[in-house]
Symmetry: C2
């Protein structure tokens, strides 16, 4: 900037001239660069910059002034940079030997990796467009597509080769097929741990939730934003990294991790330095493969409940739920066996030879029987009972506090045939794959254990099934049975539980709910006030509460290992992908963390940083 002071730069009222010819942009093309205007001063500046960067081992943010042709250095500090730049610089500097490996790892903030893993809305296009609404940044990256308002439309339009964005007030498990088909998801309601947010993050899909400016009319297939009405088929673009919604089809910049040499260098160093293993939470073979590409060393949480929402299966599931005696229930349950076996075979094969932790059925059963009138008629016919009778059965399943109700291993204890079926499916899949020459290792995980007697009850069934399948198939295979540690009582009595468990996996989502007495679904009612009033420093579902929940985790580790010195212990809650939480888990002595596929690189880097920090 000629004839100006520092304030003019900061105020942004004038456009600074470019430093050199290479730096020129479209906007500054017409201005003379320092390089051409004052070549000597420019050369002097370059020499000083090189010296400073060598000295500080980091990119420098330098202030200088030129008075009457003489260069004055005013200030220098480590430069702030975006993710792309941070990764490139750390990679280049370690390659050049300017910094050592540990320093390179510490130079990149784990969350900066997000920027190179997802398609990004072209910043220039974004700047020009101006956002029409803002919500919570629930799934990173950019997405562009035509608006649809139902999951079925999303699936059908996608089949026709269209790019769609699914717009809903909120999503439920029955929307999953449409969410999967969509380029991105936009909801008017919900927080960072709502259904849409969790699913999208798991897939690394662009997603914005809680965008309250939207008035959605799903029947009329319209949404109104800021007075303007959008119809089905209209194009919009989302920037899920910052939560902004744009009208029209903006240009996206695609990531290319494979070709990003600096990323590869950094990840190799991270793997060398970290001691925590990194697994992934994945329910489908495609997700498992994606996570392996990102460096996952096994599955830490394969949920089985999502497998039941498929239209072919949900009927059998519902028959099972409303069954009134064991014979009927067993018959319905066993219809699910072939589906589950195929599911498990797929995911065990995709992860071979790494271990796969499969969690037995966890959610309250009434989640599967949210039925409309047509579904009531269909199911009542199928079961040969009256609709009224069916309605009564369904309403009898209603619970005041389902999160604290009949779920987790309480289902398996009450309905042992469910555990039998799931265990049998796992072991039959294992036997088949072993026969095919694949190395697979299932870890059967019993959810929501509060007392060791629950686990021994379920263990007996699972081990019996393993013995049966071995005898029937003549195939020998290895497996483990362990438990989620997700209730305060499980932490307090971990020494007893460890007698029956071959591994522990902390479910820190549920553990946070019960330790704090916070429902994840209802915390939205008071969390904003709690953050405003500084009663909480941050959302305990995003980053683990080290003083409270963390103390129980440490107690669980210590008591568990007091019974079994080498007990394998991991974590499979949302916290497994949060860098601060990963640092805590490293210190607590866990063996691994498990996170959604798109967080695996973040977790690898964070684990390496934890190892360096706590050496």
């Amino acid at each position: 900037l000629v004839n100006a002071q520092g304030e003019d730069v900061v105020a942004g009222t004038r456009t600074p001239n470019p430093l050199n010819e290479a730096n020129k942009t479209e906007d500054t093309q017409h201005l003379a660069s320092l390089e051409t205007a004052m070549p000597e001063v420019y050369q002097q500046l370059v020499t000083i910059r090189n010296g400073l960067e060598k000295h500080y081992h980091d990119m420098q943010d330098i202030e200088f002034t030129i008075q009457e042709g003489r260069l004055w250095m005013l200030q220098t500090r480590n430069g702030k940079r975006n993710g792309v730049a941070a990764i490139r610089m750390a990679g280049e500097m370690v390659e050049e030997g300017l910094i050592d490996k540990a320093t390179a790892i510490m130079r990149v903030q784990p969350k900066q990796l997000d920027e190179i893993m997802h398609p990004m809305v072209d910043p220039k296009a974004e700047f020009k467009a101006g956002a029409i609404a803002k919500g919570l940044p629930a799934g990173p990256g950019g997405g562009t597509g035509q608006i649809v308002f139902t999951a079925d439309d999303a699936e059908n339009w996608a089949k026709d080769g269209k790019q769609v964005i699914l717009v809903r007030n909120e999503t439920s498990p029955e929307d999953v097929h449409g969410m999967h088909a969509a380029e991105a998801i936009l909801t008017a309601k919900g927080g960072m741990t709502s259904h849409a947010a969790l699913v999208a993050r798991g897939w690394g899909k662009c997603c914005i939730v809680g965008c309250s400016a939207l008035q959605i009319n799903a029947k009329a297939k319209t949404m109104i934003v800021g007075g303007k009405t959008f119809k089905e088929g209209d194009w919009i673009t989302l920037n899920g990294t910052i939560g902004k919604v744009y009208e029209g089809k903006l240009n996206l910049i695609e990531p290319d991790l494979e070709k990003n040499k600096d990323y590869q260098i950094l990840m190799d160093i991270a793997d060398e330095l970290r001691t925590l293993k990194i697994r992934t939470n994945a329910d489908r073979p495609e997700d498992a493969q994606q996570a392996r590409d990102f460096g996952a060393q096994g599955i830490g949480l394969c949920r089985t409940e999502h497998m039941f929402f498929d239209p072919e299966r949900i009927l059998a599931m519902r028959e099972m739920i409303v069954a009134e005696d064991e014979t009927t229930r067993r018959k319905a349950v066993m219809k699910l066996l072939p589906f589950q076996r195929a599911d498990f075979k797929g995911i065990l094969a995709a992860m071979s030879p790494f271990p796969v932790t499969i969690r037995l059925l966890d959610p309250p059963l009434h989640e599967f029987v949210t039925l409309d009138d047509g579904q009531i008629t269909e199911l009542a016919n199928e079961l040969g009972i009256t609709e009224n009778h069916l309605r009564n059965r369904v309403s009898a399943l209603h619970e005041s506090n389902p999160m604290l109700g009949h779920r987790g291993c309480r289902l398996g204890v009450a309905y042992p045939e469910i555990t039998e079926m799931q265990a049998r499916a796992i072991f039959e899949a294992t036997a088949e794959l072993t026969k095919e020459g694949k190395t697979v290792f299932p870890e059967v995980m019993v959810p929501l254990v509060g007392t060791v007697t629950e686990l021994s009850n379920q263990n007996a069934i699972i081990n019996q099934m393993a013995a049966d399948v071995k005898a029937e198939t003549g195939v020998n295979f290895e497996y483990m049975v362990g438990t989620m540690i997700e209730l305060p009582r499980a932490c307090v009595t971990a020494d007893e539980i460890a007698k029956e468990a071959e591994f522990f996996s902390f479910g820190t989502n549920d553990l946070t709910q019960t330790t704090y007495g916070f429902s994840r679904d209802d915390i939205g009612g008071f969390l904003p006030i709690y953050l405003d009033e500084k009663i909480l420093k941050n959302d305990p579902f995003q980053s683990i509460d080290q003083n409270g929940v963390g103390e129980l985790v440490k107690m669980g580790v210590q008591k568990g290992r007091s019974t079994k010195k080498d007990l394998k212990i991991g974590v499979c809650g949302e916290h497994g992908g949060d860098p601060d939480s990963i640092d805590f888990f490293h210190r607590a002595g866990l063996n691994y963390v498990s996170c959604s596929p798109y967080r695996v690189p973040i977790a690898r880097l964070a684990a390496a940083q934890a190892a360096i920090r706590n050496k």
Copy 2:
């Protein structure tokens, strides 16, 4: 029994002859007694019996046989006895110097006191009548009355001098006036900790819940049991000690504690030996007085929410809840101030000079806005908003898991005007009573604290109100501010919380819910299976789970006192009246337990036994 063997006695096929003349009953009047048939053998038996009872310091259950005129002693053991007999014998034997005080206390099972504290169904009448149904014994003693099906009917009939039994599918806070007016309460649904059970036990009222054989038609005012239809006004009798329902009006035997000398002796000894103080849970002056008569040394839990269901107050309460801005809310809240002040004045005066722990508003607000169409119209008119708008407000308060939702101190943090009003009401009542020369001591208790910052937020408001009231009235008074410890996180961080708390009171109901992840309202879905399968030894809401919940209690005590050596600590959950739990609380070092009024004598005895056992 002449010409017979022991088996004939055990088999019960023949009626044994009476031992002596004094022992003859209506049924054995015609049989010769041993005393007259064989006077010498009888005298020999009496001498031996006296010797044995002196030796064993207890009533003896003796087996003997007489062969050819010679007495043979076969076996002797301490006799089993019912509550009435146990108390009489312990009292008499300690008076006679046969046993020492500690032995006398250990001779009576605390729960046996129930038998002498309540009206009892005449056993002979009961035997003849034969039960028509059986449910859970939720409130001890007997009750007889005419059936009514609504709380309003119960109140109106009782005003007309009738004895009624309130029969409902289940009860809610809006039924409390009718429950209070009824002699006894009978419900078709609910478990031992359902609303009806908790309220009835608090009042020492006869109550049977979960009597599933009843088919109640509240509209038609009929109930069908075992094929027979009962109408409004028909007489039934309940034995709440064992859960049996009888047709008709059976004779009741009234208790008379005042005249029961042995009870008084025992209670005096218990008070001398115990170290735990006994308080009561009471929300109304009458209950407080009742508890004092039973020996309570203060109120450990005065809930304030029940005070709002009165028709005069509920409207202001609802206005407060649906208010959308602070001004409207404050206006509605302040309408409640005079009512609350009068409530607190009554209860503080009734308990003077003992301390009264008053818990600030705890339940989720939507509990107060279960409205029918008429109430919607009335409230909408009152507020000057449309019915639709009101309906939307109410449905926005709906929570997925209200137990883990926006309740407890989370209300006071979000709506500080509620805390202000309640604190002001407490302190204004305190100032007025102090001026009148009464010694009163309020302990303000903040519920559901999970982090110390919540408590400091509420403390600031409460202390400000105390200072304001002192300044306004010119009256000086003492008070304390403390907190419930009812979340695992509160136990884990009790050292931090103790910095802001002048006392702790464990809320072991909620602590059990969160530690186990069991909803009290939903546990009925799987508890029976858990007990059958021996996964749980007993209902953890009845007797505290010492290994799990108890460990957290011990941690809370130890951490709390690590910050404040002499921190006053009590318990105010249902467990405060359970003898096994009281033994645990004694060992954990608590200062007091608090229980419903009719459990106070039980708690006094159990506390004395705990002191003896753990000397």
